[in-house]
Amino acid sequence: MKILIIEDEPSLRELIERALVNEGYVVESAADYIAAETKVAGYNYDCILLDIMLPGGSGLDILKRLRDMSRRENVIIISARDSVDDRVAGLELGADDYLPKPFHMSELVARVRSVLRRGKTGGQLTIDMGNISLDPASRIVTIAGSRVELLKKEFDVLLYFMQRPNHLVDKVVLAEAVWGDYADESDNFHFVYAQIKNLRRKLDEAGADIMIRSVYGFGYKLTLSDKE
């Protein structure tokens, strides 16, 4: 899988490169409009991460060129200009996703994975780990082939973990990701514990071979069970 990063901020570019290389992708990068245009014209990529404000031009023009050439690359716009108009313009031009800065690398990696999966399987979007399979679109979870009923929040929590396997997930971050703006002023995380507890019980009962580990009391990590 080959990914092109078009981003002018060196520090951010380096971080994205590192995160994607860690995930096993082949990564190339471009720092300005001219370099980006050259790369896009000369090579094919599976996914392009595109910043909009570039030295020498607008990322939206690159997107337009790609579409004019009927290229099928997946494009994720990463931009600090988190305004509605930009988002709409980008998606109308055929971008697959829009990720406003500042974002977390795990979020970016999850989006890249999701976009690539969508491109590859033509709509079949399940995320798999161990004997568990999760379909974000239809919100169906199956463990060892049989369906497991999860409540809305349980599903959201599991999805968040499945998108970040083996990553430490801080409970505050999880709360913010799943409960959104509601949770940002809470200093009590009982509601997170409660969901995790229920989710663990359901995973256990269904015989899942993945588990949510607690890490030092402030976070969780989704890993394969080490029963065997």
Binding site: E9, S11, L12, L15, R18, A19, N22, A80, R81, D82, S83, V84, D85, K101, P102, F103, H104, M105, S106, K153, H167, L168, D170, V172, V173, A175, E176, W179, D181, Y182, A183, D184, E185, S186, D187, N188, H190, F191, V215, Y216, F218, G219
Partner: protein
């Protein structure tokens, strides 16, 4: 104090002592004039009696009806010498015909008759009641004063209303002025020089403050925008440290704490950016949005998240309430108000939310009123909540959204309840 009231008070302060002075002078002069007349009449009468007495002719009756009366009696020379010059005084005299005392002017004079005897003549003539006079004068003055004041009020009010019309127009304009909202110019159609100058001064002050307001808004917007990338970079480096460098537990704990602070900064920054966008009108398109399901969802989530506080949220809502608004902003508005009640409410208390009749009301228990004037300011936090994790921007966002759409938002405190009301009209 209103300008007219002020002018009337000043007028009164000057007129009142002036009236008193004039009343005193008037009473004094009037009394003196009347006394002079009466005394002259008495002197004439006395000389008539003296003449008749000296010539040994028939004297007038001692008492002519209720009018003049006199007594004539012989006195020693030494007594008479004291009265050679006539002396006048005011006295109450008993009038037998009337059977009562009447005020009278009394003249005492001594003279020698034809035979060289000393006689003391005491003449009395009824005169006016001094008290009555003063009272009458007082009353007429009071009514004069009242009439004067009324006339002054009417004239002053009428003329001022006409003359100061441009001033009131300016005041009305200033009342309706909201900094940052593009306004029409200060009205200036007067030919009174001072008022023209005042209007021009107001216009230039407003222009200046508008320019500063814009610059400030732009600065906040730009600053938050520029901060986004570095914040993201730091946050991601921390994330990398956490996940790929096998930190010890202690290191991990520190890293997670750094991450929490960073997230707080990022959230602050994002909220400031959001505020800047709303203030500059960069808002998603409006549509007809039903607030009721949004409210229900918000309350459900808050109930879940703040379950540990044991609070109960009672919602009374109409079946539907459609308003023309951007859905995401409507959600932020409702969320911030409801969350505010949960975050600052007392444990175990009840939050009442009412949605209907074109308004949203959120009230929760509180022991003392908040500073309603500063409540919607950015970063205003109350003493009890200094250590919170909030951004201190929730209510500022509410205010910005309401200002953007022209909703009326207000805070009130009654019977130990804080109530926030938003009117969507």
């Amino acid at each position: 104090m209103k300008l007219t009231t002020r002018i009337l008070l000043v007028l009164t302060a000057w007129l009142l002592p002036l009236m008193v002075l004039w009343a005193t002078f008037f009473c004094y002069t009037l009394t003196r004039e009347i006394n002079a007349e009466v005394d002259e009449a008495l002197e004439e009468y006395a000389s008539l009696i003296k003449d008749r007495c000296c010539e040994g002719r028939q004297l007038p009756a001692l008492n002519s009806g209720s009018n003049n009366s006199y007594t004539l009696q012989p006195v020693e020379e030494h007594v008479a010498r004291r009265y050679l010059e006539p002396m006048f005084r005011d006295e109450e005299v008993y009038i037998p015909e009337k059977g009562e005392d009447e005020p009278a002017r009394v003249m005492t004079v001594a003279f020698q008759d034809g035979e060289g005897r000393y006689l003391l003549l005491e003449l009395a003539t009824p005169t006016f009641e001094k008290d009555d006079l003063i009272e009458t004068v007082l009353w007429s003055l009071v009514s004069l004063f009242a009439i004067l004041i009324i006339v002054v009020i009417v004239v002053a009010t009428l003329s001022m209303r006409r003359t100061l019309q441009p001033l009131y127009a300016l005041l009305k304009w200033l009342d309706g002025y909201i900094p940052g909202s593009r306004h029409v110019c200060v009205p200036n159609d007067t030919d009174i020089t001072e008022l023209r100058k005042l209007n021009e001064a107001a216009q230039s002050a407003v222009d200046r403050s508008e320019a500063m307001f814009d610059a400030q808004k732009q600065f906040i917007g730009n600053a938050s925008h520029e901060l986004q990338t570095p914040l993201a970079v730091i946050s991601n480096r921390v994330e990398h440290l956490i996940n790929y460098t096998n930190p010890t537990e202690q290191q991990l704990e520190e890293l997670v704490k750094i991450d929490h602070s960073l997230r707080h900064s990022i959230r602050l920054n994002r909220t400031l950016l959001q505020l800047a966008r709303i203030d500059s009108g960069e808002v998603a398109a409006s549509e007809d949005v039903d607030l009721v399901p949004i409210l229900e969802e918000v309350v459900e989530s808050c109930n879940e998240i703040y379950a540990a506080k044991g609070m109960k949220c009672v919602v009374t809502a109409d079946e539907h309430l459609y308003i023309y608004v951007s859905e995401s902003l409507a959600r932020i508005l409702i969320l911030n108000l409801v969350k505010n009640a949960f975050v600052h409410g007392m444990e175990g208390s009840v939050i009442e939310v009412r949605l209907g009749d074109g308004m949203l009301k959120v009230s929760n228990v509180g022991d003392k009123p908040l500073d309603g004037a500063r409540l919607f300011d950015r970063f205003y936090t109350f003493a009890s909540h200094e250590a919170g994790t909030g951004t201190g921007l929730g209510l500022a966002i509410v205010k910005s959204i309401c200002d953007h759409y022209g909703y009326n938002v207000r805070y009130g405190y009654a019977v130990q309840h804080h109530t926030f009301t938003v009117e969507f009209n």
